[in-house]
Subunit: 302 residues, 4 copies
């Protein structure tokens, strides 16, 4: 994407122009909608990257405030409940800003890593949120393709797997397609609990780096990659021990936008039922000023 200009902060979202919106809309058949985010503040907890902590969601007022006389109703009798949250901006279903990760002191598009000091001056999530990510998307249900409920810890996905899965699904991957990959991994957290999910070493299943994979992303001009894992790729590359190499190869180098921690179960069931794995996807994360990332509840219309 070297041609995008030295100020570019949108990366792959540049591909999602009006034409691509139209192509995505044209794939709609049933008009069923899906909201792909996880629940924030669930009693089951929030699945987060180690080192982050889950959201704390608290009431600032509720009926008890009135019962105890600490608040009086508004003139006319209205009462209201209100609440407050503290959370990591990447502590639930989220978009990464393209400058979220880097190496060699350069972010996406060559921006200096020192621009991250006290907030992302460049390649934050804000331009992504202003633009929205709207286009034609495909789901590759790797778990289903492998005949499993969910992939195991550290289980790998290669380019070959993607293409074979697409072929088996009868899904044609076209240029500029938004790519969603289902591993089933996130349901480990909700169905088997945090202890199982984080059982050390914490190694999520997912895409593994290869030169071919990266070239394919580049050639196919994939604007956005989303999965039902926290980090969108296998945590540690078993070939070389590198942690999160695709954050470098895809996000930092190519500008592929990452939409992590998706809840894909309902969508996948619907796709399995009608055999159609492509649809319209539209998502706009919160407009966080200088945010490294932001929560989002992406919408799919099939």
């Amino acid at each position: 994407m070297g041609s995008l200009g030295k100020d570019d902060e949108l990366g792959g979202l540049n591909f999602l122009d009006a034409e691509e919106v139209a192509r995505g809309l044209a794939s709609i058949r049933s008009h069923k909608t899906f909201a792909l985010s996880v629940v924030i503040g669930s009693p089951k907890g929030d699945p987060v990257w180690p080192g982050r902590s889950g959201a704390v969601k608290l009431m600032t007022q509720d009926k008890g405030s009135y019962m105890s006389g600490k608040l009086q109703p508004l003139a006319g009798g209205l009462e209201y409940a209100d609440d407050y949250v503290t959370m990591f901006l990447q502590g639930s279903t989220q978009f990464d800003g393209l400058g979220h990760t880097w190496y060699d002191d350069k972010l996406y598009n060559g921006f200096d890593a020192h621009t991250t000091l006290a907030g992302l001056e460049k390649a934050s999530v804000l331009p992504l949120a202003e633009h929205t990510a709207s286009g034609h998307a495909v789901l590759l249900d790797i778990a289903r393709y492998r005949g499993k409920e969910r992939l195991q810890k550290g289980e790998l996905i290669t380019l070959r797997d993607l293409l074979d899965c697409a072929a088996k699904q009868g899904t044609k991957i076209q240029k500029h397609d938004i790519l969603l990959i289902r591993t089933g991994w996130l349901s480990t957290f909700y169905e088997e609990g945090p202890a199982k999910f984080y059982d050390p070493p914490f190694i999520e299943p997912g895409l593994v780096y290869s030169r071919e994979l990266v070239e394919w992303f580049h050639d196919t001009e994939i604007p956005l990659l989303g999965t039902d894992t926290i980090a969108n790729e296998v945590t540690v590359d078993p070939n070389n021990g590198i942690v999160l190499p695709l954050h470098s190869a895809l996000m930092r180098n190519l500008g592929v936008v990452f939409n992590e921690i998706l809840m894909l179960e309902d969508l996948a069931k619907d796709c399995a039922k009608d055999g159609r794995y492509d649809f319209f996807y539209t998502a706009a994360p919160l407009k966080i000023f200088r945010g490294t990332g932001a929560p989002v509840n992406p919408i799919v219309i099939k």
Copy 2:
């Protein structure tokens, strides 16, 4: 909406079924997208209801963490920035859960106000976020209709104004239309500053209660009302001193979903330019468990 069933927590969103999604999609012409939320953590501040405070958005790590040796790169060299927010869930562009406000100890659909204790057991924002709000929407640009940049403090909007504005715009309001009203008021905050915006008494302009207005919302089965004000209606009814009566008459009694604090300037300009004030609107707030409301970045496709 008495027929919606005793467990209903969706209110007006029940109207937004597949058919209405299709009707909304059918209005798309240019495939231009708009993201309607305000910026969170802006240097200009966050416009919030008095008593709430703006978001505090902070880095948990950035390049400085590595420069000072407090963090080491991941194996392979990856570094990353991360951040954290504390905020009122209704401290930016947001959906109210239908149980957010009440009187006579009953929420929307007769739920007991005591169910709000320690979090909304009923009529929280969560079911709205699971369902999404997607359909055909119209913008009534009242400021433009009145030949103003923005309405003044406490300036009223009646049903007559809505209908006349629609007529003048050439906009036909149809059953189940999502209704967006532009007052221009929110730009007071960004262009003239908080001191002017909050200048006491704080009385936003907006819709004023009348029996006809409420009946019209009921008959037209408006699923969702959104404006560029904090509370979607004139703060205090000048006729009787009641604070926020439409939160009772529309939200609590009819189940009209409120989408507050919208930034409508770009959308309104585009509508003025091409003369088309209807479009597809889709929004999915964050899935906050038991939330009284939740941030959202609604998407419009024209």
Copy 3:
């Protein structure tokens, strides 16, 4: 303490009058000071009661804010760093307000449990913080008495143990003495790590309920009990399965103030060295309005 009056919110701190301050001061010999709190936001983590989470301490600005041009120095050249914390008020060394726990819908001194709605109207930590807790204190080093570095999970301490330990130490417990008990348990967290500390079932060692114990606290008019555990008593009474019975018997019923999560290692070493286990103790938690508890860094002068 029935004679303290129906409005009393101080409980045992009523005993700590000027005379007791004088008695405490009179025990000072070496003028060495000890600060008994744990570190908040330590890289080792914050030891907290299950269900609470550790403090999140973040920079709002630092040198990086100036380096990246996000801030300019004040007129004259001054720059500054600033920070922010989110934490449970009982998430570190802390005083419980006397109304923190209850049963049968009555708090300490018969206050109605409904007064806790939206903040402690009665028996919060605030009156304790206004009064300060200052007096003569004794340390009973149970771990040392038992010849151990630290007590084991669930290890019990009885009244007999307290008295025998005191006798062996040559410590005379007098009326109105502040009572500090060292188990060594907290160092499990710092020296063996959270996994060991929280290894399920989480059962801290500590005092176990008996009628004699409670009567002794009552007769001796102990104003304050402090230990190096999170809950100041054995988590579950092995005799009957009751969780935290001394919170009821001592705090709720007698008004004994609880100072939990103390770091007693340095103090205990010094006591062992000079053989003197009594000293002046003074502590004033943060004045949190309606707080259930508040952080405190108690000071001992030997």
Copy 4:
């Protein structure tokens, strides 16, 4: 304090050794105690430096959690209330760490300002909190000396004023005395409200820089300066427009510890009553790891 060694992070607190503790204790007469902090989360608000915001203190659970069935009592019947706070660490009565402010890229004792990145590696509040500040203190009640309830905005205090006030009070300032200065200014916030307190331009009254003043602090080896203002000095020096020059001259250069936002009203009344303006002062801020500062509730015993 050049002789304190290149690793020194205690500054003036080095002067407060056992001998000084003894000297302070020797001044105690009535054994009355005073807790000098402001209330956090007060309905009147929290007085903070512009740019900071007040504490947000919220319940995580209370009686309402049990009433609504969201929580069950512990085995045996115990119920409890718990709460949470988000706050600036310097958003109430507090100690500054000596590295809180700097110029020319050097903190107190020559530490590099880059050590503040992602938290104060050097001269944080932690060593102060470990050491405690305990010694002999004097109160100079400048407001009373000037026959006023409180100083006005920007009203200046010079060295001459300090000495004259001490003379008039009959107070002898000795080497190593902790110095508390009462302006009455903070009561503006509580008695006249935030609008009056922050009325622009925000210029607190207080000490004004002079070479003599700084030399006197140096010669007298004042370990700690505390006032009832937010910044311990006049906000802007009227002679040269420099903002907070004493943060440089006293804190950064000499290592004088700053204890800001003290509530001195009750203490001052008591001093006026008995004519004794010296006493024992002891304070231990929270042990915040790498904190720029930390809340504290200082204790005075007269």
